[in-house]
Amino acid sequence: MATTYEPIATTTFTSSQASVDFNSIPGTYTDLVIVASALAHYTSSTYVELRMRFNSDSATNYSFTEIRGNGTTAGSSRASTQTYIKGFFMGAESTDNNSRNNLIINLPNYSNTTTYKTALIRNNSGSWVTGATVGLWRKTPEAITSVSISNDNSATGFLAGTFTLYGIKAA
């Protein structure tokens, strides 16, 4: 039986890098899932806001709606007409260099050329929040062939971690 759920690419790093990029993503799957365990590289806060872009599109084609709880309060926000999907978070090194925060990004039906793309994101930060985000990419529909994830608070990106891109193939 053909494999339904399989890793496409993994990047692991132990020193800082500005972004994590998956390029030349094949269009042979139904959905993509990105799973990360990482630490943001930022010393001025306990957490950072992350951002994600597809196919190097830098136009204002992105928006998001998010919900989060930080142990005291729950909240929600959104932003429209952005140059990235944002509104998802990761703990930063100022809290604990040994901590890793997990991030799961679902990109369903990423390769179709008829719909805008909707991302479902779950983020769990040891130092700050647990949350979820829905993101929208409104570029004239095209297949997602590259994903770039970076740190919106600082160009220093990530300090350490592992990001894996999986493909899921429907019958």
Partner: protein, 183 residues
Amino acid sequence: MTPMLGIMASAISGNLSNFESIASANGTGSSGVITFSSIPATFKHLQLRMIARGTAATTYVQHNITLNGVTTNYFAQHEIYGDGTTAGANSDAATGYMASGLVPGASQTANIYGAYVWDLLDYTSTNKNKVAREIWGVDLNGGGYIDFRSSLAVNTNAITSITITCSSGNYTTASSFALYGIK
């Protein structure tokens, strides 16, 4: 063994080969019903992964999910949601279906689709009622929701079919539904 961490909202772990495609379907534009029948009992859990948009000229419609064709005894549907301004929670009264996520209707900007990951755990049990959990989201570039939801079916039978019904109108042809089994 590779941890299967990529399953949204799931702590299930195992080999990636234990996540298998069972069946998939697309909307037709002329039907609001998607049925997965003759679901084999060879898995531990089921996962539906969907994108959807409705044809009804309204802002939202909704997925209504029934199990084994039963249209009674669905209870205790709870959700936590963010609407871009506040985080809130709701519960629904008993209904004839498991209320799933909202689906953008034809009144919304063209080409916007909602995304849904719906899990049904221990679906072959014959001595437990069934609970589904879901994460779904729709962003409208200025509106929309991100939502966690659970639903109870008071039904101790093994589940052999799942029907997803659009609450009004039909599913567009680009709507996509895929059922997976997890061993």
